[in-house]
């Protein structure tokens, strides 16, 4: 494998994702299946509140804001999150803003998010393994890799949890609950406060990105090099990023741009409140296309980072112990498939 530039690695990552559509579909289905029971629960709650009221007609045809407020005032748990901000692109803004401002969500929603993250951790091994090999691994191979790496990734998740917990629990609180109020306490021009807050968002986003890229490469190295130590994989990831800083950052930046473009496209196409009937399903389908795009973007992050890593370091000298046994490790497989120099 020749040494790829960031752009080449990114394009190769896109290719790898597109060549494995089953993964996109699979992850989308997982996202759908996790959310469907909750949506059904919300539906029951909505139906119970609407009963046979005439209010249902306007709620069906457009937005019955009066009813929506009435519902939200008496709802708890999941129902309490049924607010105007679920409509169209506002949903995206709402969630990004909630992350940026560390807005707490109902416990049940957070619980589902934790479960979803665990599912991703399970799938991560199979997904990266599939992209690393660049060939069909089949359901058996895919899930074998998922299972093989799951417990390693759970250990890695502890490290990730500590780092992200530190960032969201301490750094975010310090930046936005202490530093920001202190800096802006005597600011009497909103533009200044906005710039300060924007700068803090940027700094926090960079910290998140740094952690994110580090853990991405930790997973990539864990899979590609069949590493068992979570800490070792993180250390190896840091080494890789340090030695290939420009390329690693460039690949990540390209992915962030694509992420931004995805949001921009959805901002333009996101359906409004809409009506019922087939238009409702068209709106839902647009929403699912957006979800598929978001899933794809996440997968492109991993695929392009895998591609970059493999193009730069996937040779025997960088394979972690134990020595790979044919044909277990993707690295070994890559070496075997590599053209003779």
């Amino acid at each position: 494998m020749t040494r790829a530039t960031a752009a080449q690695a990114w394009r190769d990552g896109v290719d790898r994702v597109l060549r494995a559509p089953a993964i996109i579909v699979g992850v989308w289905l997982v996202t759908l299946l996790i959310s469907v029971p909750l949506a059904l629960s919300v539906r029951v709650e909505l139906m119970n509140h609407l009963g046979t009221s005439l209010a249902a007609q306007s709620a069906a045809q457009s937005v019955n804001y009066e009813w929506m407020q009435e519902f939200a005032d008496q709802a708890t748990g999941l129902g309490a999150t049924v607010r105007p901000t679920i409509i169209g692109f506002a949903a995206v803004l709402d969630n990004l803003s909630a992350i940026a401002d560390a807005v707490p969500r109902p416990v049940v929603v957070v619980g589902v998010a934790v479960a979803y993250v665990i599912v991703w951790l399970f799938l991560a091994g199979g997904i990266i393994d599939r992209y690393a090999r660049g060939r069909v691994t089949g359901a058996h191979g895919f899930f074998a890799a998922c299972g093989g790496y799951f417990f390693r990734f759970l250990r890695l998740a502890i490290v990730m949890g500590v780092v992200y917990g530190f960032l969201f629990g301490l750094v975010h609180g310090w930046m936005f609950d202490e530093l920001y109020p202190r800096i802006t306490r005597s600011v009497d021009v909103e533009r200044t406060a906005f710039l300060i807050r924007g700068s803090l968002y940027l700094v926090f986003a960079l910290l998140l990105a740094a952690a994110n890229v580090m853990f991405d490469y930790a997973k990539v190295r864990a899979v590609v090099e069949d590493r068992r130590s979570a800490v070792g994989a993180v250390v190896a990831a840091v080494h890789f990023i340090r030695r290939h800083f420009a390329a690693a950052v460039s690949v990540y930046a390209l992915n962030v741009i694509v992420f931004g473009l995805t949001l921009a496209v959805y901002a333009l196409l996101a359906p409004g409140a809409g009506s019922t009937g087939w238009l409702m399903w068209v709106g839902f389908a647009i929403g699912q296309l957006y979800v598929i795009l978001r899933v794809s973007v996440k997968l492109i992050f991993w695929a392009s980072e895998t591609s970059l890593f493999q193009s730069r370091l996937a040779h025997a000298g960088y394979v972690a112990a134990p020595t790979p046994a044919w044909p277990d490790s993707p690295t070994a497989e890559a070496l075997r498939a590599a053209p003779t120099r």
């Binding site: 029951v44 909505l46 005032d73 990004l96 600011v187 009497d188 909103e190 409140a273 019922t276």
Partner: protein
Amino acid sequence: MMALASLTAAAASHAEVTGTIDPPLSPRNASYVIDAKLDPASRTITGSEVILWRNITTKPATELQFHLYWNAWRDDRSTWLREAKLGARRPVPAVRPDERARIDVTALGVRGSARADLTTVMRFIAPDDGNTDDRTVLAARLPQPVAPGGSLTIELSWTAHVPRTFARTGVIGNYYFIAQWFPKLGVLQDGGWNCHQFHNGTEFFSDYGSYDVRMTVPTGWILGATGVEREHHDNVDRTTTHRYHQDDVHDFVWTTSPGYLERHARFEHPTLPPVDMRLLIQPEHAWQADRHFEATRAAFQYYGEWFGAYPYGHITIIDPAYQSGAGGMEYPTLFTAGTRLFALEHVGDPEDVTIHEAGHQFWYGIVGTNEFEDAWMDEGINTFSEARVMGTWAAPTHFGQRYFGGFIPYLFKDIVINREDVWNHLAGYRRAAKEDVQSTPTYRYYPASGGAITYDKTALWLNTMERWLGWPTMQRIMSTYFSRWKFKHPKPQDFFDVANEVSGRNLNGYFDQVYRSSNVFDYGIQDLRSDKDGDKYRTVAVVRRYGEAIFPIDVRVTFADGKQVVEHWEGAERWHLYTYEGTEPAVSAEADPGHVLLLDVNRTNNSRTLAPLNAAGPEAATKWSLKWMVWLQDYLLSWSMFV
């Protein structure tokens, strides 16, 4: 009549606005001449004042009582700060000692035949809660009583420290907003002094008079104040003294900052007197100047047409500095609006707050109610009026939400805000409906929910009255009340009396429900059935009063052939049964189909439908649960980025 009004308006359009009004519009029994100097370095104000006060009660006055509002922020033991903690949803931010306020009267005396120095007999009293640590009311016994109709000239000197902003008063950076800042007499009534301590949830009350005020500030700083600037001159110490004057007002406020931009416009109307508008706006909001002027014009137009004319001929609009905490407040001939760096059009901000505060010139400024005791009479009546203007002039407006620390606004095109529910704040009322009885003196409301009882509930019950009696009757009630009580201090019964008189109905039962009770209104259709009985359908509709409050409502039953039967129910029983026999089954039944009773806290149960219309419920539930699902998926995917 119209021609005469036009002539008057035209004549007024040529008159120079000086702040002098002749003949007097008010009793002018508490007039102030004040001289104050601001020292930005030490953030202190040194002032002296002369009050010409007249006893307009039927009882002799044996003592004087003054408000010293700024002592509310002197320490944590004041009633204001204790109440702030009681009602706070989050901890009250700590302030540094140098950011606290204080006002110290250094000399108090009376002139004339009863000349006396009262400095040594000054004492703090706490008429509301007996809090001996509260220093917001100062009393001094007079050497000899002032007989009814008698006058007194009072002299005071004081020093005050300007706080970091509390309750729209204070300083941030070089932005000063100076309100409730001078020792101010309470209102003497036949029952004695009405001079409440400063409370966290209530505002102010004082007598009308003329104000002539000199304010000395650094040269080059822009100054805005109640009234009209009569003169200004520069001093040798790089300060400038501005003199403002205004007759027939009950308060005086001022603001100064080197950062203001100044804009001017004018309100003109065929039948209303013109108003010169002066806007002091933050540079970052300069592009929103016209929005402030247009909203103020709308307020003067509609309030003028509906209630009565604004007589002062000028208004100063203040766009306060960011984080000054001075936004959304009313003072005579001056009000503060409040906008944001990013302010989308058609969301209602800053138009809403501008109309509300401009509207207070009528309900507070001109009709001078007691905000300590009956805050609903200015805030509630004004919210009702403002909502009517927003529904008339600003429509359509849309729901908006702010994200990312409140900086980024987003407009929901699909959600058009209506006056009845949103501008009247039904949601706010619903959450606090049982918290307090409105007739409780406002300063005794629970601090966290007092606003909903004061603003929201009043707007809803006045709007309900409008829908019940019709706007022409309601407009006559409001304009008669305005005309009869302008430049006076009406009490709630005065409003009720006008409403009964003008409507020609006894509305006391209604006022008992909405004003003298915390009961909630909730009517609903409990049951609707249409059973086939031979060739006919037997339809049963049960309407129920779920809430404790009573209001007469209509009940409408609609049949499959489109025929509708409207029944009138007095609403006093807990439930009522309607039965029908006919060839068609019922399709729906609605309690209060005209949506007259805006205080109904649960509208969803007001109607029931039978097949096939009831498919709408599952359809609506499906639609909204699908939207919610995409929101949830996006939320989940947002967290997946950290895997």
